[in-house]
Each structure stands twice: as C-alpha cells, then as structure tokens.
C-alpha cells in the first residue's frame, strides 16, 4: 500500500509555568473606580453591605497578573494542546464545532447578567428559551417534560436512578424493587449511578449477535426489578433491534426503562425513545446539540420523562402557563435538586441556538451524514492491514461509530494501541478514544466522524493511522517512544493513580508537596 505524504507538524513548546506561580504582587488586570460619594451614601459602603461574618479576613491568594498576561498564558497552553482544533474523531463524544454565533448569543448581557433569583417577570426571555429547548427535545423523544439541571450525562443517569427510587417508594415497592439492570456495553455511568442511588446492579453480557439476548434479559427480570438503564446503539455502533421487546418485558416486570441517548447522533429524528416504550431518556447538549464541552464541563445532561414521572422530576421546573413562563419551585413528590436552579443556562441557550439553526431537516441530514461518514471510514479502515472491528462477523452496518481493534498489530509488533495513539498526535490530529471500561475488545479504538468532519479531514486522519501502523511494522521504536512532535513527550501517568501525589487544586498540590518535603 502506498502511503500519502502527510503534513509536517510540531506543537509549540513554551515550558509554561502554572498560572498560580506567575505575576507580581500588586499587578492588576483591571482596576475598578471607587464609587461616587452619592452612590455610597445611598447604598452604603462595602462594610455596610456585606456583614462582618461574611467578610474575608485575608484577601484570596490569586495570582496577580495583567489581562494581557492571562490571555498570553492561556494562548500558550492552547498552542501546546492543539487548541482543540486538530482533527478530533474522539468517539462516544460526538465532537462538534461550537459556532461562534452561539457563544455570542450566550454572552449577551441580557443573558450573561441574569440571576435566577430575579423575579419571573424579568426572566421571561430566558424562560422562553428554556421552554423552547424543552419542546424541541420533547418532539425528538416523545417525552412529556425535560429538565436541564443535571450537569452531564452521568448526572442525568443519576437523576434517573433517583427518580426510580422515588417512583417505587411512592408505590410502596422500593424495599422489594432493589435491582437495576444494565448491559456490559452500556456506559459505566449507568451501573455506577444505580449503585450510588442504592440499587443492586445486574449486568447482562454480550452474546453472539453483539448484544445481550432477550432470554438473558428475561432471566434478569423479576419482581425485584426497579429499572433498565441502557444506551442504544452502544459505543461499538451496534443497535439492539429487540429494544422494543426489552422495554415491554421490563414494564411487564414492573420496572422503568431509561434510554441513555448519548449516542443519539446517528438516530436523530429517526426514532423516538417514547415510541420504543421508554419512560425516560437523556440527551447530551454538550455532545449532540452543539454546545461546548470544556474540560469535563460545563455540560448538560437533559433528562426527559413521560407524563407519569413528571411529578418526580427535580424542581425548579420552567412551565408555560397561559402565555407566560413561570418557575415551579416545589412539588410534593419531586426528588428535589440534583444541581442548582434550572441548570447550566448558557449551555441550554447555545444548544437552542444550534438546534434552531439546524432545523428538523438539518438534524435528520446530520444524522444520516454521521452514519454515512462512519461507514465510509469503516471501509477504508478495514483495508489497513492489522485493523479489525469488534464482532467482525456481523454484517449489519454500524451507526455513527464503530469499535475497532489493533490486536493484530500488537501481536505482530508489540506496539500497543496506546503507542499508536501517542504517535498519531505527532501528525497534528487529536488522540482517539479507546473504549469505555471494561475493554471487551482488545487494543480498542473508537473513532466517530459525526457530521462535522469533511471527507478530506476523515481521509487525512485515516492516512495518519495507516502511516503509524506502517511504522509499527517497520520502525516500531519510533512509535513506542512517541510523541516526538508535542510540547512534552511521554507522560508518566503513575502520579494520577497515587493519592499521595495527585492534586486537583493548587492548594492540594501545595499541601501534598509540602508533606512530601517534610516527611
């Protein structure tokens, strides 16, 4: 196979300090004027406005920098990390461009400067947007009501576990119904949140068809069943065609059925969760609906449910009552809050802007393009020696992503999928996604093209992979010692597994660091 010539790439290397270590005492980014005497006279001074008990004894230990220095610092970091502007086919995460116009809309003062405790009368515009997004998602899912409180997909799954608890408690069956059923290919947050809410977790393994059999589900169901929590298609791209039957069986057993719709991109406007019988579902605004992800947040797992479960939803809830929008703060059966207020509103606004711009035809087209792009990619990837796909004998096409395996490359050359991932970033593309735990497929990787990436981008990405696999056979050391063209080379990840060393805040870092020095 002749390999195309790839672009040269090298990341900027800045050896950038941590922002907390930068600056000079007394330097300021912005200097605020003292208030006029009349204003102070009318509103009081800081001393009178903020009670003594709430006042800081010491100023916060923030780095002291000019605005320009802050900008330059973060630009350097962005340059060192590809700036999230490489070709990123990071599967299961549906990487989308976040349009600037959505950012601008969310940054407008009419939105950015609102506070959720303002009176309803002054919030009608934003409430209309929240209600509008709710209606769009109800239309796409067939559900009766959505909430935007959950701060991500896993949080929405947790919301479902809480609602399951409230629902069975209300019916007096909670003590008996203590099991939540999921599959080994469901995202682990489903099992984890079920357990966090106090349920026993019953997991179904995959069988020959690439998903668990109806018989296995029947074996798991009983009068102890509280709910089923699954995603479909799973992140191998395999759609369980028996899902309607599954939901019927769960209902017959007296359980609720929850659809984790994180993998919605390939089926947008092609199926509705409620029509499959599901009682509840969640959408990822930060994946499918074009809102940004950020590093682990901000995010929104929009959770929706059927009419029967609305009473249990978290409050507050935005409602439309006779042409006005109101906030329902409490409800007797509500599970309470999973997050503050009505959720991450800037995200909801960005998702709303994106969805309105796409329109229903646009969504359908995007879904079809994402499936087409994946199947195009699959053709080309499987032609690369050493690449195989999960459940290779299944002939039905995968949806918006496919899980592959580099087991043969590892076996032939000793080069692992992690080495290959490290080497690919040397060509200016982002690292690929491997697989959720547990790894059922050895040496896995899971690219997802979605509707964003052009054919040229997809082809380039595949060319990079083909080149690196070729290197694995002919020059394995180059792959094993990668990355070579990044700001830093191989990272020793051991610290991330060591509670003595890891630190997620500067304070924790200093604390652990000083302990290490003194002990």
């Amino acid at each position: 196979m002749s390999l195309p010539k790839l672009r040269q790439y090298h990341a900027a290397v800045w050896d950038e300090p941590i922002v907390m270590e930068m600056g000079r005492a007394g330097r300021r980014g912005m200097v605020f004027p003292t208030s006029d005497a009349e204003v102070s006279a009318a509103d009081g001074t800081l001393d009178t406005v903020i009670p003594a008990s709430a006042r800081r004894q010491h100023p916060p230990k923030l780095p002291e920098l000019s605005e320009f220095e802050v900008q330059r610092h973060y630009l350097h970091l962005a340059q060192e990390t590809l700036g999230m502007m490489g070709i990123s086919l990071f599967g299961t995460c549906t990487m989308k461009y976040n349009p600037r116009v959505s950012e601008l809309v969310a940054a407008r003062p009419w939105l950015a400067e609102l506070h959720p405790n303002q009176s309803e009368e002054t919030l009608q515009g934003v409430l209309e947007i929240v209600h509008g997004m709710n209606q769009i998602l109800c239309e796409l899912s067939g559900m009766a009501q959505f909430v935007f409180q959950p701060g991500g997909g896993a949080d929405a799954a947790y919301t479902h576990a809480c609602i399951t608890r409230a629902y069975h408690e209300h019916r007096g069956e909670l003590a008996q119904r203590n099991e939540i059923i999921t599959t080994i290919q469901a995202h682990p947050c489903n099992a984890a949140t079920a357990a966090a809410a106090g349920f026993n977790v019953v997991t179904l393994p995959l069988e020959e068809a690439g998903y668990p059999s109806v018989a296995a589900l029947e074996a798991a169901l009983s009068d102890r069943t509280a709910a089923l929590m699954v995603n479909n298609p799973d992140d191998m791209g395999i759609y369980n065609p028996n899902i309607k039957r599954w939901v019927e069986l769960v209902h017959q057993a007296g359980g609720l059925a929850f659809y984790d719709h994180a993998n919605f991109n390939g089926v947008m406007s092609r199926l509705r969760a409620r029509e499959l019988g599901f009682d509840a579902c969640m959408f990822m605004l930060h994946k499918t609906f074009g809102a940004p992800k950020g590093g682990g947040g901000p995010a929104v797992g929009a959770y929706g449910c059927s009419e029967d479960l609305v009473a249990f939803l978290p409050r507050p809830l935005v409602r439309q009552v006779g042409g006005r929008y109101t906030i329902e703060h409490e409800a007797p059966l509500s599970v309470g809050r999973v997050r503050e207020f009505w959720g991450n509103i800037p995200q909801v606004v960005k998702a709303y802007a994106w969805t309105r711009a796409m329109g229903s035809d646009g969504l359908r087209q995007a879904a079809d393009i994402s499936v087409l792009a994946n199947n195009y990619m699959e053709r080309r990837l499987l032609a690369i020696p050493g690449v195989s796909k999960s459940f290779p004998e299944l002939s039905s096409p995968r949806l918006e992503m496919t899980r592959y395996s580099l087991a043969k490359v590892a076996e032939d050359t000793g080069v692992t999928v992690l080495d290959i991932q490290n080497r690919m970033v040397d060509f200016g593309v982002d690292a690929f996604w491997l697989s959720h735990e547990p790894w059922i497929v050895p040496e896995p990787f899971t690219p997802e093209a979605g509707e964003l990436w052009s054919k040229e981008d997809i082809d380039y990405w595949i060319d990079v992979l083909a080149t690196v696999i070729d290197e694995a056979y002919n020059d394995p050391d180059t792959v094993r010692s990668a990355p070579h063209c990044q700001a830093i080379h191989k990272v020793d990840g051991a610290g991330a597994d060591d509670p003595q060393r890891w630190a997620t805040t500067w304070r924790a870092y200093q604390y652990k660091h000083s302990i290490q020095v003194t002990s």
């Binding site: 080994i184 026993n200 977790v201 019953v202 393994p205 074996a219 798991a220």
Partner: protein
C-alpha cells in the same frame, strides 16, 4: 498414569509397533484414534487432587472410588456413533479404548494385541506413539492433565489432540467442555479430514508448589494443536491474578459477614472461596471442599461421602463456588468432589457463584460450563445464572453443558 515427572522429554526412539507394521503394509490412514486412561479421574470424588501415580490410585480405590474415564469415553463414543454411524477407529488395546469402541459398534483396529490388566503412563505413551506412526487425523483421549502430559511427552505436537474431559485436573487447553462436545469435534475431524481447522493449545498442569503457597497456578509444559472449534474446546485455565480486585475482596467479606445462622455452607475449591474463609478467620483448603456452620469450620477437604454425610445431618445447606478461570468451568473441573449427588442434595437454587467480573468477561463465548457426569443434572443446571462479582453487583451468565 504418569509415574515420574518426565515432562518435556521426547522419546529417543519410537517403538516398532504392530500398527506401524500394518501401516507399512499399506493399510488406509485412519482418521480417528482413541486412548482411554481407565484410571483418570478416579481421585476426584475422593477429594484427591489428581489420580497420577499408582499410590494415588490405590488410595482412591481404598476410599471406594470407581473409575470414571471409561464412562465418559463411552458417552463420547455413543454420541459419535449416533452422528456418524459405524466408522473406523484406531484404539489403544483392551480397557484403554478398543473394548469400549467395539461395544459401541465402531469398526476397531487396536494399536497392539494385548492390554495389561493394570495400565500405566507407559501404556499411554506407547499407544500415542503408535497413533503418531499411523498418522491419525485426530487423537482423542479420555483423561486429565496427567494423561495429556503423557501423550505430549511421547509425541509432542505431532498429532492434533482432543481431550474427553475425564480427569481431576484439567488446566490444559485441550479439553472439550463435555464428552458430547468431544463427539462433535471428533465428527468434524472425520468429516473434514486434513482440512480440519486447528489452533495451538497449551499442555499445562497444576503448580503444586504454588498450591502449597495458597495460589492456584498452572505450569506450562508445551503446546499442541487442537481443533479450532471455540464452542467445543475450552482454553487453558487462566491463573488467578497476583492481587484479587477490591470488589471481589469486598464481596467475599460481605458473604462472610452475612452467612445465615444454622445453615451448612459448603465452599468449593479455589482462591475466591478461600478469601471468604479467610474473612471468617479460617484457612480454606485451596483445592478442596470445606464446610462451615455458624462461622466455624466443621469439615476440611471433604470427600463426596463425607460431604453427603454432613448433608444428611444438616437439612439447610448452601454451596458457594468460584470458577475455573479462562475455561468458565462451573462444575466438573477441579471440583469433582462436588458430585452430581452432592449438587442434587444442595439444590441448584442454593448455589452461589462468585467471580471477579473480568474473569467472566474474558470468557468467549460468555458461557459457563457444567459437566457433573450426570446429563440430567447438567441440563437442570443449564440456563442463566447470576454470578456475584462484587457487593451488590451481579452478571448474568449462560450455563451450558
């Protein structure tokens, strides 16, 4: 029976056998050979950890054990006859296969005329060598790891091999998961001839030193080729990981903390159940069956009859077992003391199965196997079961015979 640890050695010269002469004389190449080790598995119900060596066999006989391998080989041959009719078979002489095969209706040629009344490892090796000289398409044998090692010692990987599971220890990756599955593989060998797909498999045996140190581990002795039929042939037993996962540890502790009062608990062999006993402050028998009542160990390394006697006096009983890693064997390998009689008495719904989740997920297909020697019980145990993999965590697994 393997009498001395002569593993890995190849025979220096092949004996000139009756059959070799026959082949030289122009007889057709037989597709299937069979060797039965009539003493294999005899140590199982008697709680002996194998049947290798004359002393062990004598001890097993003294404990009232009866040979099982011939019964299992017969199940295979019956099933094969039902599928292919009266085919031609090359068999080890007398009780080592020929008698049985004739009785079932095969057209039998024996590797030698006479069979000794008391067979030994040497007889297995001589028969294997004759099979090699005859170049059979597939060598079926009924036995366990000891028999597999004897054959491997004699002929290395020169013939495709398949074990009818009949031993106490079956760590090697050459065994069908049941006698009937062995028949299906043999049928494939007969029908496909030289085009039978093959793959590599390990010859392994229990690591006695590791067992004394409280670990379940195998020693690898070599590799052979087996029919490439994943639903029929079990892979090599995977060793238990050096460090059990936190989930499994927590589960074992939870089980120890929640034993029902005045219920007799039987704990099967293996490192997982040993963790439960450790949580009770007891030292379990790694390769044996122990009994616990109200937190006290009331029986160690029990034989079938000792277990039945305990069950006679304790009507309320439960059985807790682990799995044989890599093979997914629930009953019939490494826990032959848990005989059909014991299992029927405890009752299928009173059996708790424990495993690390990754041990289950490594199984392809995701199936657990039972091979109790009693086809009716095997059927009864088949279906779906819940395997406990952590506190409040279960995985649904298929059980098949």
């Amino acid at each position: 029976m393997r009498s001395s640890p002569s593993h890995g050695k190849q025979p220096t010269s092949s004996p000139r056998t009756y059959f070799e002469l026959m082949v030289k004389a122009g007889a057709a190449r037989p597709r299937l050979g069979i060797i039965v080790n009539p003493l294999a598995g005899i140590g199982g119900p008697a709680a002996l950890k194998g049947s290798d060596g004359a002393a062990t066999v004598a001890e097993a006989r003294a404990r009232g054990a009866r040979p099982e391998a011939p019964l299992r080989a017969e199940r295979t041959l019956q099933a094969l006859a039902a599928r292919v009719g009266p085919a031609e078979l090359l068999a080890a002489p007398g009780a080592m296969g020929a008698d049985l095969a004739r009785r079932v209706g095969f057209s039998v040629k024996a590797t030698s005329r006479s069979a000794p009344s008391e067979t030994s490892a040497l007889d297995t090796r001589v028969a294997a060598t004759a099979m090699r000289d005859a170049d059979v398409g597939l060598l079926l044998f009924a036995g366990g790891d000891g028999t597999a090692r004897d054959i491997h010692d004699a002929i290395g990987d020169q013939l495709p091999l398949l074990g009818i599971p009949a031993g106490v220890k079956m760590h090697s990756g050459v065994f069908a998961h049941s006698p009937e599955a062995a028949a299906r593989a043999a049928e494939a060998a007969l029908r496909n001839g030289p085009s039978l797909p093959l793959r590599g498999a390990d010859i392994a045996d229990v690591d006695e030193q590791a067992a004394r140190d409280g670990r379940v581990a195998s020693i690898l002795y070599g590799s052979v080729r087996v029919p490439d039929l994943p639903r029929l042939v079990l892979p090599t037993k995977a060793g238990s990981p050096a460090q059990p996962g936190a989930e499994l540890q927590a589960l074992c502790r939870e089980i120890a903390d929640t034993l029902e009062p005045s219920c007799l608990y039987l704990f099967g062999p293996g490192s997982t159940t040993a963790m439960v006993l450790a949580a009770l402050g007891a030292r379990g028998t790694l390769l044996g069956v122990d009994a616990v009542l109200d937190g006290q160990v009331v029986g160690k390394d029990l034989t079938e009859s000792q277990t039945l006697a305990l069950l006679d006096t304790h009507l309320d009983s439960r059985l807790v077992v682990g799995l044989v890693g890599g093979q997914g064997m629930l009953f019939g390998r490494g826990n032959r003391q848990l005989t059909a009689a014991v299992l029927s008495r405890v009752g299928a719904d009173r059996i708790t199965v424990l495993s690390a989740a990754d041990k289950l997920l490594a199984l392809t297909p995701p199936t657990l196997w039972v091979d109790t020697g009693d086809p009716v019980l095997d059927k009864h145990l088949s279906g779906y079961i819940r395997v406990r993999v952590g506190p409040r965590q279960q995985i649904i697994m298929t059980v098949s015979s």
